[in-house]
């Protein structure tokens, strides 16, 4: 590409993705952005200057060959672009939507130094959606069976990645999932309006067509332990059981009716479809005034879900200031467009109930920022005597998750750290127990979809090697 062409390309403005009007969308659960049109995708793809040393690739945790797939889009070869993506990323339609791109691939994009970065994530989403919507999904050739069988615990992004990689290498794979639907957080946590569930399920269907067996309603540790799986014909096991243990605040009144963990609230609404109650049987308290405690993506997802269940007011209560909000800027922006309020530098002290044990208010205290703490952010400190109350009949606690303890509890020879996360060799996902691998949130604590998938990929390579050679 000569200097002139680069200059021309840099002049193309970043394409904006059309989205549902905020007033409209807070009344429904349909996806917010509509995605690029083919014309927009081509225009956006042309903004990529096809760097010789593409920094973007290093910014992607699974090192997708970004310039290559973007070039294919620029040439109108959308299906080929999707195939290229799938060589390194089993779930491009998912990652294109939920990756924090602005902190990863797009953060280091060369174009971004002078103008807006290339919309890598949106292009990824476009190619994957195009392939799916045009029925062009083809199943890769599966090699002859190696004679080896692997078990995967948990059908979240980590486990699904391992399963896909291992069948492509010729092994038999069975995924055991505790819930009645595969997908992990993609199904029970991330809301429909951010990640339509049919996309997750079509990715799962794709894995099934490649030969992955998925056993639902199977809680490993209760139904069968890891040791039993290893004794019953599985040559290797991958544990991808996630970080599903909600943290609470341990303040008075936390067990009043109307106080939810984000996991419970989101599971009721997403997985169990409480937003369609009573057509679906699972209820959720809709409330008039909803308060969400926390400032991360889970808090934002809970708050934007609450906005759609029609209360009068939804606010985020966060103990630091706006700058420290860990949520993605895009999410905060979407939330505000939808009417979300922020009560910053505020911390709950207790939940106050009525005579029936239902939440009616929160007592809070104002905070100010003091010296930086070990995370480098300024530590919030209480302002004495600043107590005040906020009216609320629903409170959602979104202050993070701990490690799911079921597997480590029933397999004591798998080493865990003091937070209960499984310890592994980060290069290959090997745990302290021979034949057992792990990755994703159960290892990292709450992280991201793409990091979980990267772990899955490395573990699958190592499992393949172990199953073929028997060397640990």
């Amino acid at each position: 590409m000569d200097a002139n062409e680069i200059k021309e390309r840099m002049k193309i403005p970043r394409q904006t993705m059309p989205e549902q009007d905020p007033h409209e969308r807070v009344r429904n659960f349909y996806e917010v952005p509509y995605g690029f049109t083919p014309e927009q995708a081509i225009a956006e793809a042309k903004r990529c200057i096809q760097c010789k040393k593409p920094l973007c690739v290093g910014g992607c945790p699974v090192n997708i060959d970004i310039p290559w797939f973007i070039r294919l889009i620029a040439e109108g070869k959308f299906v080929e672009a999707a195939h290229k993506l799938k060589e390194t990323n089993g779930l491009p339609a998912v990652c294109g939507r939920v990756c924090p791109q602005e902190d990863q691939c797009e953060k280091v994009c060369v174009v971004g130094k002078k103008a807006d970065a290339v919309s890598i994530g949106r292009l990824e989403r476009f190619a994957a959606d195009y392939e799916r919507e045009h029925g062009e999904v083809t199943i890769p050739n599966i090699p002859k069976w190696t004679g080896k069988k692997a078990a995967v615990v948990g059908a979240g992004p980590a486990g699904l990645t391992v399963a896909g990689d291992l069948v492509k290498k010729g092994h038999k794979v069975t995924v055991f999932e505790a819930l009645h639907t595969p997908g992990g957080v993609l199904m029970y946590g991330i809301p429909e309006f951010r990640l339509p569930k049919k996309i997750v399920q079509s990715e799962v269907e794709y894995l099934k067509r490649m030969g992955v067996e998925i056993v639902l309603n199977a809680v490993v540790g209760k139904l069968e332990t890891i040791d039993e799986l290893l004794a019953n014909g599985y040559d290797a096991v991958f544990v991808g059981s996630g970080a599903g243990l909600p943290n609470f605040m341990n303040i008075p009144g936390e067990n009043l009716s109307g106080v939810y963990s984000a996991n419970e609230y989101l599971t009721r609404v997403n997985l169990m479809k409480a937003y369609q109650f009573p057509e679906y049987d699972t209820p959720v308290i809709r409330g008039r005034k909803v308060v969400v405690i926390g400032g991360g993506n889970t808090a934002m997802d809970s708050a934007r879900t609450a906005l759609r269940l029609c209360p009068e007011e939804v606010s985020i209560v966060y103990r630091r200031s706006r700058e420290e909000l860990p949520a993605r800027v895009e999410e905060i922006h979407h939330g505000e467009e939808e009417g979300l309020k922020f009560k910053l530098l505020t911390n709950p002290k207790r939940f106050i109930g009525d005579h029936e044990g239902r939440l009616k208010a929160l007592e809070c205290v104002s905070m100010e920022l003091g010296e930086p703490d070990e995370s480098g952010r300024r530590r919030p400190v209480e302002m004495k005597g600043s107590e005040f109350t906020i009216e609320a009949d629903v409170a959602i606690i979104a202050i993070g998750n701990g490690a799911n303890p079921l597997v480590p509890q029933t397999t004591p020879d798998i080493k865990v750290n003091k937070w209960g996360n499984i310890t592994v060799n980060p290069d290959n996902g090997r745990t302290s127990k021979e034949g057992v691998f792990s990755g994703g949130d159960i290892v990292r604590g709450g992280a991201t979809v793409i990091l979980a998938m990267g772990d899955g990929r490395r573990a699958a390579d190592s499992m393949d090697e172990y199953m073929r050679t028997g060397i640990w």
């Binding site: 009645h180 009716s257 419970e264 109650f277 209820p283 044990g357």
Partner: protein, 285 residues
């Protein structure tokens, strides 16, 4: 899909089912439960595993119709299938030889008591059981409990059968007579479990109750089932369902169990509107 292979009516609106679930049948122990979802639109409801047959590959559950989901289950019959059954969940009952084990079942609570009584007897305990119901027609598992126990006492609130009064009165009488009780297991409606615990507390008799909070996943992921026990938050689905009866905050559990009263009524009204009226007795809850 999990097929129903046997159904029996034990009392008015109380049914016993055998369900094909071979892996669970092989694994389950006394005190554990399953979570089931009847169909695509269904909610996840927990039910105790009352028994199992490893050879047939079946588990037995007993359910009382108290709302929409249990009423829909009550309408299902042999040959029908349940969409999802997951288990065995929760920790098994701690069984050891306590000498004398008193097993107390109130109403539908007799169902979860049965496997515990059996296991206690097997472990060498002298098992003395007390089962109660509001009236004779609602009493369940009399013969099974008789077989599982060395002694069986029956109470009805209205005096229509057995001792006229509450299970706790019989328990108090044992204590007053100087019976050396090693352990009491009490399962039934929350007020009954609270009453049993109040009876044994002054004497320091070890008392185990099995809690029935509202659950969603049943695997420790959501915290819906949390109850304060001994001042600490516990997740009943993974830390229980059985706890030291003297440490449970029963008031909190009762209030939390009423969280969806309004929604449950709506669901039931919609259901009876479409399916025709049925008699539901929610008094015993």
């Amino acid at each position: 899909m999990y097929e129903i292979v046997e159904k029996a009516e034990l009392a008015h609106t109380v049914y016993q089912y055998k369900i094909k679930a071979p892996l669970i049948a092989k694994k389950r122990k006394a005190g554990q439960f399953v979570v089931l979802r009847l169909n695509e639109m269904g909610e996840r409801i927990p039910l105790t595993i009352v028994g199992s047959d490893d050879k047939e590959g079946t588990i037995t559950i007993i359910v009382q119709e108290v709302g929409k989901s249990t009423a829909m289950l009550g309408d299902m019959t042999v040959g029908d299938s349940i969409l999802d059954v997951v288990g065995p969940l929760g920790k098994p009952t701690h069984i050891e030889d306590f000498g004398i084990a008193v097993c107390v079942g109130g109403g539908i609570g007799t169902a979860p008591v049965l496997p515990i009584a059996k296991a206690m007897k097997e472990a060498g305990n002298k098992v003395i059981s007390i089962i109660g119901a509001r009236n004779k027609g609602l009493l369940i598992l009399e013969n099974e409990m008789r077989e599982a126990s060395h002694e069986l006492h029956i109470t009805t609130d209205d005096g229509s059968y057995g001792h006229h009064g509450f299970v706790t009165q019989v328990l108090q009488k044992f204590i007053d007579e100087g019976m050396k009780i090693g352990c009491v297991v009490g399962i039934g409606p929350v007020p009954m479990m609270r009453a049993v615990s109040n009876v044994t507390r002054p004497y320091g008799i070890q008392t185990v109750v099995s809690l029935n909070p509202i659950m969603v996943d049943g695997t420790g992921m959501c915290g819906a089932c949390r109850v304060t026990i001994g001042g600490k938050n516990q997740f009943v689905c993974v830390d229980g369902p059985e706890f030291n009866g003297h440490e449970v905050n029963y008031e909190e559990l009762m209030l939390r169990n009423r969280s969806y009263i309004k929604e449950e009524k709506t669901a039931m009204e919609e259901f009876t509107y479409h399916e025709g009226a049925k008699c539901y007795d929610r008094e015993c809850k």
